[in-house]
C-alpha cells in the first residue's frame, strides 16, 4: 500500500486495531499486520508518535504495566471519546468507500473519440 495513503489514515488504523481491546505498541503493530493480511506493513517507529498524539487528544488512555518478562510496558486502550471517534470515522469511511466503489462500477474503459 502507498505510504502516503497509509499515513493519512494512521489514526483510524490505530483506533481500529485497539477496538479489540487494550494492547501495547508491539501488539498493536502485529494486530494491524494480521488484520490487513500484511497490506499495512508500517515502519514500526511511526506508530508511537500516533499513540502519544491520540492519547494527548483524549482518544486513548495509556498506563504502564509490568510484563511477564519483568519489563515495564505501556498499554493503550480506547477511551469513550475514542470509541465515538472510531464509529464516526468508520461511518465516513464506509460512505466514501461505497461512493468510490459505485464510481468504479459505473466506469468503462476509456475510448478515444477520434
Amino acid at each position: 500500500m502507498e505510504g502516503e495513503m497509509l499515513k493519512g489514515h494512521l489514526d483510524m488504523i490505530v483506533l481500529a486495531a485497539l477496538s479489540a481491546g487494550p494492547a501495547h505498541g508491539y501488539a498493536i503493530i502485529e494486530e494491524i499486520k494480521r488484520r490487513s493480511a500484511g497490506a499495512f506493513d508500517l515502519p514500526e517507529g511511526t506508530i508511537y508518535p500516533v499513540l502519544h498524539r491520540l492519547e494527548q487528544a483524549g482518544l486513548l488512555a495509556g498506563r504502564w504495566v509490568t510484563a511477564d518478562s519483568g519489563r515495564r510496558r505501556r498499554v493503550y486502550s480506547l477511551t469513550k471519546r475514542g470509541k465515538r471517534e472510531l464509529s464516526k470515522r468508520r461511518a465516513v469511511w464506509e460512505q466514501f468507500s461505497d461512493a468510490i466503489g459505485s464510481l468504479f462500477k459505473g466506469s468503462r474503459p476509456w475510448q478515444n473519440p477520434a
Binding site: K7, D11, G45
Partner: protein
C-alpha cells in the same frame, strides 16, 4: 544471551533526539526498548545480533521519529499552559476574595479610599476580568485545536495565536496583582505588625507567586517551541 548493544545504542540515539522534552524522552525510551526486545524475541532465526539489527532498522530513523514526537510535545505543553492560566487566575481570585473577607471580619465595611484608591480599584477590576475572559478564551482555543500528525505551518500559527492570548491574559493579571498590591499598601500604611497585617501580606504573596508561575510556564512554552523547531524540520 549477552546483549550486543545495538538496541541500547539505538534507544540512546532516540532519547538524545528527544532531548527537547526530557519526560517524553524517558517515557519513549522505555516504551521503544520494550518494543525492540519484543521484536527480537519474536524473531525466528535465532541469530540474536541480526535480529537486533533488523528490529532497529524496521523501527526507523530516530530523528524522523523525534520529529513526529515534536508536535505531541508542543501540544502537551500548550495545553498545560492553558490549564495553568485558568488555575492561576482562580487562585488569584480566591486570594483576593479571602483578603477582602478578612478585612470585613477584622474591620467591618471599608470606608472611602479617596481618588487614587477608587481609580486603582477600577483598574484592578477591569484588568482581572480581562485576564479571566482572555485566559478562558486561550484555554478553549488550544484545547479545541486538532493535533496534527506533524508540526505544520498552520499549527505553528495556532500556537502563536494561543501565545498572544496567554501574554494578554498574563499582562492583565499582572496589572491586577500590582493594583492589589497598591490597594493593600494603602490599607496597611501605618498599621503595626500583627495578624491583621500577616494575612493580607500572605494573600498578596500568593498572588505574586501565582502570576510568576504563569510567566515561567509561558516562558517554558516558548523554549519548547524554539527547541522543537529544529527537530520538527527533519521530517
Amino acid at each position: 544471551m549477552a546483549e550486543s548493544g545495538v538496541i541500547s545504542a539505538y534507544v540512546e540515539r532516540l532519547a538524545r533526539a528527544l532531548d527537547f522534552d526530557p519526560s517524553l524522552s524517558r517515557s519513549v525510551r522505555r516504551e521503544v526498548e520494550d518494543h525492540l526486545w519484543a521484536t527480537v524475541s519474536a524473531n525466528p532465526t535465532g541469530d540474536r545480533l541480526e535480529a537486533e539489527r533488523l528490529a532497529v532498522t524496521n523501527f526507523g530513523d530516530p530523528h524522523v521519529i523525534a520529529a513526529q514526537f515534536a508536535v505531541v510535545s508542543l501540544a502537551k505543553r500548550a495545553r498545560r499552559v492553558g490549564i495553568t492560566a485558568i488555575l492561576v487566575i482562580a487562585a488569584v481570585f480566591i486570594a483576593m476574595k479571602g483578603r477582602l473577607a478578612w478585612y470585613a471580619v477584622m474591620e467591618g465595611p471599608a470606608g472611602p479610599m479617596g481618588g487614587l484608591g477608587e481609580m486603582v480599584v477600577s483598574i484592578d477590576r477591569w484588568a482581572f476580568w480581562l485576564a479571566v475572559v482572555v485566559g478562558i478564551a486561550g484555554w478553549m482555543y488550544v484545547d479545541t485545536r486538532r493535533i496534527p500528525a506533524a508540526v505544520t505551518p498552520e499549527y505553528r500559527t495556532q500556537l502563536r495565536r494561543f501565545f498572544v492570548l496567554c501574554l494578554a491574559a498574563t499582562g492583565a493579571l499582572i496589572a491586577s496583582v500590582i493594583s492589589d498590591g497598591v490597594l493593600t499598601s494603602l490599607r496597611l500604611i501605618g498599621t503595626s505588625w500583627s495578624l491583621d497585617v500577616v494575612i493580607p501580606l500572605a494573600s498578596m504573596a500568593i498572588e505574586v507567586v501565582c502570576a510568576g508561575w504563569l510567566v515561567v510556564s509561558i516562558r517554558g512554552m516558548t523554549h519548547r517551541m524554539a527547541s522543537t523547531d529544529q527537530t520538527a524540520r527533519i521530517e
